[in-house]
């Protein structure tokens, strides 16, 4: 187990390094650099004269090393990250780390909740559907899983927003709190208010995963229920409940655990689109604004952070899988 873990960690570190390079390329992609963007901003908004702005921009270029070759810039950017310095956001006029940190928290909270939601509401109907094949409920589950997979999250968000406002009597859908609650300290009332808003993005983001889990669980369980050891378990006279829960489900669930790490990009993706539609204070709207204003340090650093998060989760999932399924360790 230890050797497996070390191998996995080393591969992860290499991946992070390559991710950092791709993220840096994204930062340098748009024409012009941080200096020229700031220069424009100083002239337009700051009312600075052209010469002064150019001088200040030049000074900043030297300070941030933008006049040096790209590979050196990449090195210093990477070194900065190791010290926790992700660069400076033009849009928010604050260090990138300060902008991303609180928003990333919400993104992770919503994504993880959506993941749990999709596991619970995907696996249980999946089991029921497989054990009651060709029943009405089975067809309903199959229908839902196809429907859920074909629904883009931004469209689902639009439809749910519309339904909630015009038929659900909800007045304020944007954000995670009611207007009068937003600035108060945490209390039970605020928590209740929060939950009233919070379930909406969780359900929207989780729908795709729920649909996938239902389908995967149903198919895997049907596969396993046909296996010989299940027939043996039945022949021994075990109760059907024990056969399904103790023997079949345990083996049918492995591919789903493996899939958790693969589903993370989809969760983040859904979270970004949903938050933009619902106007939540997460990384989604921030990324869109950063890209529209070509605030590339913010965009690139976010891309880097989110991908690193993905790698870390992948390692966790792999280790968890190796832990539940010993065959993986000796591959």
């Amino acid at each position: 187990m230890g050797g497996y873990l070390i191998k996995r960690l080393l591969a992860g570190a290499l991946t992070v390094l390559m991710i950092s390079f791709v993220s840096f390329v994204v930062i340098t992609l748009p024409p012009g650099d941080f200096g020229s963007a700031l220069e424009q901003q100083l002239i337009r908004i700051g009312g600075m004269s052209r010469e002064d702005a150019a001088q200040l921009a030049e000074q900043l270029r030297t300070q941030y090393g933008l006049d040096r070759p790209m590979i050196v810039q990449y090195g210093s950017w990477l070194a900065g990250i190791l010290k926790g310095d992700f660069g400076y956001s033009l849009r928010y006029r604050r260090p990138v780390a300060e902008v991303i940190a609180p928003r990333l928290g919400w993104t992770i909270l919503i994504s993880v909740s959506a993941l749990l939601f999709s596991l619970i509401f995907g696996i249980l109907p999946g089991i029921y559907s497989a054990t009651h094949q060709y029943s009405v409920a089975d067809y309903a589950v199959s229908f839902f899983s196809f429907w859920g997979l074909s629904m883009p999250s931004f469209f689902l968000a639009l439809v749910i927003m519309y339904l909630l406002i015009f038929y659900g009597g909800v007045r304020n859908i944007g954000g995670l709190f009611s207007l009068d609650m937003a600035l108060r300290p945490w209390s039970w009332a605020k928590f209740v208010d929060f939950m009233k808003h919070f379930w909406v993005p969780v359900v929207i983001v989780g729908t795709g995963g729920t649909a996938w889990n239902m389908r995967a669980m149903r198919a895997n369980l049907l596969d396993v229920l046909g296996a010989q050891y299940v027939r043996v378990a039945r022949a021994k006279g075990l109760k059907e409940r024990v056969v399904v829960n103790r023997h079949a489900v345990r083996n049918a669930i492995h591919p789903l655990i493996m899939h958790i790490s693969m589903s993370l990009p989809w969760l983040i993706q859904g979270e970004i689109a949903t938050s933009i539609v619902l106007g939540l204070p997460t990384t989604g709207p921030m990324l869109l604004l950063a890209l529209q204003d070509q605030d590339m340090y913010l965009a690139g650093s976010f891309l880097f952070l989110i991908s690193v998060l993905m790698v870390v989760c992948n390692i966790f999932a792999d280790v968890a899988l190796a832990w539940v399924d010993p065959r993986i360790r000796y591959e």
Partner: protein
Amino acid sequence: MSRRRSHANDEIRRIPDSTNDANVGMPASHGSFHLMWRKFRRHKLAIAGGVLLAALLIGVIFAPFFAPYAADQGNLRYSYCPPQRIHFIDSDGRFHFRPFTYRIVKETDPVTLRLRYSEDKSVAYPIRFFARGWNYTVFGFIKTNLHLAQASEGGTLYLFGTDQHGRDLWSRILFGGRLTLLIAIGAGFLSGLFGAMVGTVSGYLSGAPDAVIQRFIEVLLCFPALPLWMALSAALPRNWDPINTIYAITLIFALLGWPGIAREVRGKVLALREEEYVTAARAIGVGRGRIIFRHVLPQAMSHIIVSITTAVPGLMIGESTLSFLGLGVQPPMATWGALLQKAQNIQTLAQQQWLLIPGLFIMITVLALSFLGDGLRDAADPFSRF
């Protein structure tokens, strides 16, 4: 996983390619594609998906024929006009064989100051079928002005209502579908081409090159696609020609689409290279390139097609999201996602629910594509369940 792969192997051994299976003694017409077609035909939903997709493709390829209005032909007098009803029975209760629409009257509500549309039942405009209208070219060289349906002189035909500039939504959906499908299928095809190449080489060579390629693919798969798509398309120059933007966006989607396909193809090739006929080819001294292109690729072809088909729905959802956020195709071009942009404003949506219709088209198309992909996968690999 391994169990499934061994099943796949069994299947291949039983159904070899018709070109090199003289020893099996099956009639030539029972080649692998024939057997796959038999399997596919049993998948009712896949057939339905395929038929629906074919209808959609015909609809968008001949969009000008089916569209009563040109894509950017607006009429500000009818801004945000709700879907018009098509009538067969007039106000006197008489049945007309030729359907007609009533004249629409626009008035401003004196209290809320909102626009209100209603029908003026005294003036009916019969719909003209196979009628002459605005000019267009088919396939770039056939000039015509024939349309499936046109409103008669002075009338209007807004099947799905209009947008803010008074442009017919149904026509815009048809033209938008062209772009949506072109980008998704184009990106799918490009990723398939590149993914198949990399996957085949990686799987066939195995060893060190394979390990390097696989690590690289793993890195690419770590990136959440949407933020990277967003970042790359935001980096496209804003002053580009919309056509160039479309090509660039297709390329961007292909850039992140190929690793998944390459991985699947590699798995297939890895299994195929252990096949006896490949060993035999190697033993009689056939070159590496010839083995790959003559013996391995044709066998992996069905899997490549399946991977492309299953990748296209995801690409379509991605493109729609991107265009919805305003980072994709730029106006005057509009894909289905871009058509939904206006629906983001809750005030607009409150009054103009029909603006959500393009979303239904995205859903139905993705659904049809998934059904089709499912059926193809079952046909290509009959032992897998999904």
